[in-house]
Symmetry: C3
Subunit: 646 residues, 3 copies
């Protein structure tokens, strides 16, 4: 189903009915509203002005639309900031981040929790039972604009409280952090300082705890909102719209509060954000890379425990990347179908109409700026709606044969201690994901500790700290397992394990890491054996009580296998990664369909859906009947097919 994001407060009331009617005509079912509308709803403390929102919800409901209502906490109004400056966040340089855009609050502020509860409760009370209300969105894009971490006095105070709870005594804190090093010991929690502004790098264990603390805060803050909403709006679901490539907090933890996950899909904007090469950026500038959106779909299907929406779908050029091209014709349709292929329940476009004013005036909508006239993206959305209406209902999403374990704390750990400037967790995961997707495989993304039984192959690109639960899940996996470099290299206190890396995985892998090397661009170490190619960026020097399937030139193990558990002891260059993926698929007994770099496949039930991100036609292999589209998939096109049985 389709949805759209709408801002009634941006338009004359006289236009609302027309807007609602045209949404329905286009084929839209859901409309999200309200998530930035605090100043209009409460222009001064306690002076609530909900009339406009009452009327807007009634108009939308009357037109037959189902409403998703956002809490407006991403944009505290100016009167509140002036009254309570302690809600403001601080950047790592110690500068206050002020009013004038959005997300200008720190999760650490008790004042902010009180004020958030006040506005959330007021809105939940008022609209919790509105007949047009389908569900809720908490806040907006937690963590966007680097807003998870904050470095102000409120943060210090809350961090000390969090540490008191975790460590009980200064002695245990000192021990956990190795604070004897460089005389960093404290005699009480009120001596703890923030891990910024130091002369050289601060204690990495302190930084890791600071990151965990903030991640915990996001989850707790969201839970506070959810609890209030549930109290006043029984029977409605709650989601949050996560932002792509924001990993500063654990999305799995936040989603424990939620009924379903959703995410904001800006496939082209992300091309400039993700560390692609310039060649790749140029190649994918006007279509996006064919794994950007799919990766997030699979991730948020996992975050949402099977249920997810795209809450904001890019409908044309955006305003916020370094460069913002117009997507190639067809891409808005392709992205929409692709989201559905990966299991999205709803794809909701951002936004109904391009705003001619303020920060996002260069951001396309389904309608041209200020006008009741579809944009090119709007026309493609309408096409999808027509196609959905003519096709049979989409089949159920089935479990994939391959599981990727995604571990937010590994992102934090490698940001804190990259050790080599280009060791980026998100990039490692993305490249491994791409390699398996190039084999035509469907992939589930799961958190550490989730059950792994039933998967033919489990991939753990890395997991810096391996909890008991995560280790147990890997041990209990009944398919093949592939683990990458740096796994198990830190314990709970962010120290090197007593038995060296991979710590708790030692028994499962048979490996022991004695030295690690980060390799500057230009250095590559060749690997030969069952897989061939190069290792770049990172190498673990190991001794192995396991089968050595491939070795480095100095005879050090590169790929080892002990039982089901394979470990690659380095960051694979593209050639090695391709060989590795093929090797693992083979030993896991997976049926693969190798695809060119611009083609991707995703199954939903017995539908095989092929997507063409390239500039030329691509023809399906034989053996398929086409439900939509033909054997030849045109540029920026898709084909839905079913295998010919018998």
């Amino acid at each position: 189903m389709l949805g759209v994001c709408y801002y009634p407060e941006h338009w004359d009331e006289g236009r609302w009915e027309t807007d609602a009617r045209r949404m329905v005509e286009l084929g839209i079912t859901y409309v999200r509203i309200g998530e930035f509308a605090w100043s209009r709803s409460e222009p001064a403390r306690g002076e609530f002005n909900f009339g406009w929102l009452d009327r807007a919800m009634d108009v939308l409901h009357a037109a037959g639309l189902r409403i998703v209502l956002g809490t407006p906490t991403a944009t505290p109004p100016k009167w509140l900031v002036d009254e309570c400056p302690d809600i403001l966040p601080y950047d790592e340089q110690g500068r206050v981040r002020g009013f004038g855009s959005r997300r200008h609050y720190t999760f650490s502020s008790k004042t902010w929790w009180r004020e958030s509860a006040r506005i959330v409760e007021a809105i939940a009370r008022r609209y919790g039972a509105h007949p047009g209300l389908a569900g809720w969105q908490t806040d907006n894009e937690y963590g966007c604009h680097d807003s998870t971490l904050s470095w102000g006095p409120e943060d210090l105070s809350a961090f000390r409280d969090w540490l008191r709870h975790r460590y009980q005594s200064a002695e245990q804190l000192n021990e956990a952090w190795g604070a004897v090093f460089w005389s960093m010991e404290v005699t009480g929690f009120d001596q703890v300082s923030l891990p910024n502004g130091t002369v050289t790098e601060p204690n990495p264990a302190q930084r890791m705890d600071f990151w965990r603390f903030h991640s915990d805060q996001v989850a707790a803050y969201d839970r506070m909102q959810c609890d209030l909403i549930r109290a006043h709006s029984p029977g409605r679901w709650i989601t949050h719209n996560f932002m792509g490539f924001v990993s500063d907090f654990d999305h799995f933890k936040v989603a424990e509060n939620l009924d379903l996950a959703s995410w904001d899909s800006y496939p082209i904007g992300f091309v400039e954000k993700f560390p692609f090469s310039e060649v790749e950026r140029n190649r994918w500038a006007e279509t996006s890379h064919p794994d950007i959106a799919p990766w997030h779909h699979d991730l948020y299907r996992g975050v949402g425990r099977g249920r997810f929406w795209v809450m904001e779908q890019q409908p044309g050029p955006v305003n916020w990347a370094a460069w913002n091209p117009v997507p190639k014709p067809g891409m808005v349709r392709l992205w929409t179908w692709e989201a559905l292929a990966h299991g999205a329940e709803v794809v909701s476009y951002f936004r109904w109409r391009q705003a001619p004013f303020a920060q996002e005036q260069f951001h396309a909508g389904l309608n041209l700026p200020g006008l009741d006239e579809l944009s090119p993206g709007g026309a493609e959305a309408a096409q999808v709606a027509r196609e959905l209406a003519t096709l049979p209902p989409l089949p159920e999403t089935r479990p994939a044969p391959v599981a990727f374990v995604f571990d937010y704390p590994s992102y934090w750990a490698t940001m804190i201690q990259p050790q080599g400037r280009d060791f980026r967790y998100e990039e490692l995961v993305f490249r491994w994901y791409e390699a398996f997707r190039r084999l035509g495989l469907d992939i589930d993304v799961v958190p550490p500790g989730a059950p792994l039984q039933g998967y033919d192959l489990v991939v753990v690109p890395t997991m810096v700290h391996v909890t008991d639960a995560a280790r147990a899940a890997i041990e209990a996996a009944d398919g093949m397992v592939l683990i990458g470099p740096r796994a198990g290299s830190r314990d709970r206190t962010f120290a090197i394990p007593e038995n060296l890396a991979p710590g708790p995985l030692a028994g499962l892998t048979g490996a022991r890491v004695t030295q690690v090397a980060s390799l500057r661009p230009g250095l590559e170490q060749p690997v030969t054996g069952s897989v061939q190619g190069g290792v770049i960026r990172w190498r673990d020097h190991v001794t192995a009580d396991a089968d050595v399937l491939a070795r480095f030139a100095d005879h050090g193990p590169a790929l080892t296998r002990k039982g089901r558990v394979h470990v690659l002891h380095g960051w694979p260059a593209p050639d090695l990664l391709e060989a590795l993926a093929a090797h693992m698929a083979e030993v896991a007994g997976l049926q693969t369909l190798p695809l060119p770099s611009q083609i991707r496949l995703r199954r939903r039930g017995d539908w095989w859906m092929f997507f063409n991100y390239g500039p030329g036609d691509w023809t399906l292999p034989s053996g398929f009947d086409c439900l939509m589209g033909g054997q030849t998939v045109p540029p920026q096109g898709l084909t839905i097919a079913q295998r010919i049985t018998g």
Copy 2:
């Protein structure tokens, strides 16, 4: 005529007479003094010490020199800063910019206005009627070192006052800024904040107003100085020495206070400042690019309503660029003649003698550091003086056949919303100017709204907001008109016009912009038709009720024409730009003389002056008699010629 910048306070009084005599012997007429001499003139509050300046002016006057006296407000002394720290500016990061160099004041400080008035009046009273005084310079290089904008408490207060005046009510402010977006609404002007330090980008309309506010302040501050000077120094002209490539305030507006414009010409330093490619930077490192100085000459002739000086002419290597080579032999002479060719009334070298101390000790002068001995640049200045003495008087400057409309607010608008990282207004204008100059055309630069009648061709590289006056002037033009991308894309409140871009130009152009694309380096969209080549960096997707002279590969209009008005709907790559310039010159009926990239031509009356920036000889086309120099122009040389008639 020639001039020089002199600092009597830097040298023993005993040397002044020799200096003055040697200036006159060299052929110098004007001497500028005094513009940084506050601490020497008022070493403590109210303790004026003008004796040295009295004597210096008398010595210079006695030698026959005409004096330009600068007000010393660019360098408030330490006692004043200590007493009144509220005069200090703040950078965008919120850090105070302190004492120790120059331009350490904000235009927003009322204290600073009071103190400025005090010192300007004291000096104007004392020297306003001095017989050696020719004219005045206000302050020094407004805006240099990013000193136009400031972000401190005084700025906030003054900005709020400016907004009160502009918008009258908070409601109108909210409406103009689209402040409902992201809950940015205020209920009073005292809730307005500065547009810095936000979590993500601040409101662009707020930023645009903040820029306008500062630009207005520069003009008002300058007017205050001019009013005081005129009150005490009747019959003397006033100028200000603008700095090249500083566009943070509207120079046309400041010049309304002035009798003539002047600018500071550092052709080689600017090679490192302007966004040239590395190849170009290397090519022009020791001569400068052949359009750098000419562009500014033409701009400031426009700013000065026909009258301008070069107040500071680079005489050798400077100290402030990333690299500072020695200019090729002949360049100081060439630059001087070139300024005269473009209509400069006086070319004044900076400075008489290289200072062996303080910040500019690596900056060449006409004399070697501390010595009474001409530098190589000094010898070239002497050569120019001799040449001027032997040639007939320079003919009058005539209006050019081509007008460029230069619009400072378009610089601000595209800095605020580049949308693509390399959309730089100054670069767009410069490249278009270069293309027409390569055709041997003379160019006038005029402000938006200036009358355009009489020009065969009017070029508007872009004009983001088109005022009624600007539209009317374009409509009234009687030559051909060429307009570039993004024109008319914002209205007075920095919103997208209700009829979409080009807003008020819609009727004149027949175009309507439905989408815009910024194109990362490496993306190029081919154009075919009456002109051929590529579009880079920016494309406007348009529908056109006009003749389409060239199209993109997707058939979208690239170059349209409606009556006289041509629009290029993108940023031209060099090949397209060259074709476009040739096409426009042809349809405008202009006589062109295509020149190689290192040769430039400028006419003054019936003198044709050819300048050779290249490393090899260049020979004039036939049909010229040479007044100075020969048919073959040597490297770093020039030839003044007249067409052979009949």
Copy 3:
């Protein structure tokens, strides 16, 4: 002899005896301890807790180890910082640099001096006569992490005092700084401000004084520590462990307090820090560049007036560079032997055992993280110990035939006024050193003003300000002298000398600099004559009353000679530098042995020690008998040989 750095406070007391025994078994003589152990020794003000250190010293001593005890002033504990925040340093942006790592103090703080004296005296009293104590190390790596300069209120106060002492009156200060320029004059020392936070560049003379002030402070602070130690620990020597490529203070001056110098040798980490090209960085990533460690050995042999240690020797990968590869097998042994070849008395590895916690957990030790098991580097250290035991005693180090004059103030001067972005003093010196080392020459490094008699060749890559003593030493040299660009270009007050550069060297060189050019990358000026090649980055335009041995294309002198004194008037490109080194060696009558880029030679007495940094074998020239290793030196290997006489 060998040593090791050890942190008993990091390990259970129960492990100390085993550690000490294993050190002795490995062949270690010296153990350095204590330099970061303040919080453990004084957990709260006045509550001293020295029991653990008493026991640790006793255990180490009992095992037969000789102890070097560090003062713990590099890591003031949190209670002290909380109590006395005025000890904290400020960065150039004006931000306080807080607790949480190390070196968080400013040398300007009187409180800090008092507190430092208190802890140093307590430790010196307690351990000054310990029978296991061999000597002392003051603090740790002065200046590391840019900790020499600080920009806070304590610094301003101390700077004003320093200026009062130097200049006596505001008039003399104004005169020295040329403060009349830009109205920077002050009427008293309390008007002096810090040279940061200015709108454009601050006064370079002020900056130079600020740097001298800080350099003086480091020396004075160190002297305070040394005086206290000597008072309580007679008969023990004192050193400081200098950090490589830290030149913010004058190491020669600090070493005047010391009995011997020592330095911390991280050859691979420095590859990322020094401005090598990417090609070089890749080439030397896993071995280091073959002049990095040798340059420092020769420098600190000079700083220590003949006596130096390597206090911290890299034993494997480190944690702090942009990338941190594992050194090639053999390199730890090679570096150790190389240090001995250059005259190191002791090579002390950092550290005994890799710490599994805190900031340096990725930094290798002689033992694996937390374990009693040698790392690969530990095994190489053991090999060196065995080799030392089997060889005859190392011969005495003899004076080298070539002297390099290294001048810390020239580093400051060119940092303050690079004039071209890539004029880096350390790079200039390093490249010239490399060129002469490639000829197989041994080099001594000496400070300005040191006697130069006896050297066949004296090289002064540059010396921006030439003191009377430095000039006299050059004049008194009895070998050939080679001087580089910019020499003598500033006087004592950082002004251009009255007779222009090279100022006091004018008589010795016959040159006079009239203009200077910095040349951007890509500009190169060819030189022909006795030496051929190119000048890059910098050229002095000179007139010369001397023999001109080589000229630029415009006939300007490039290499001049007057008597013994040669001057190269530019920054040589590699080809010119190679030719210049060969030319100078020839005219100086030096016996050279040209070596490939990966091979180096250093003599100690009659031992010729050849080191192979390359990936292939290299064979000695004929005429040598091998003491250790063979005629063919394998990759990462070395050979010690003696010339066959007769």
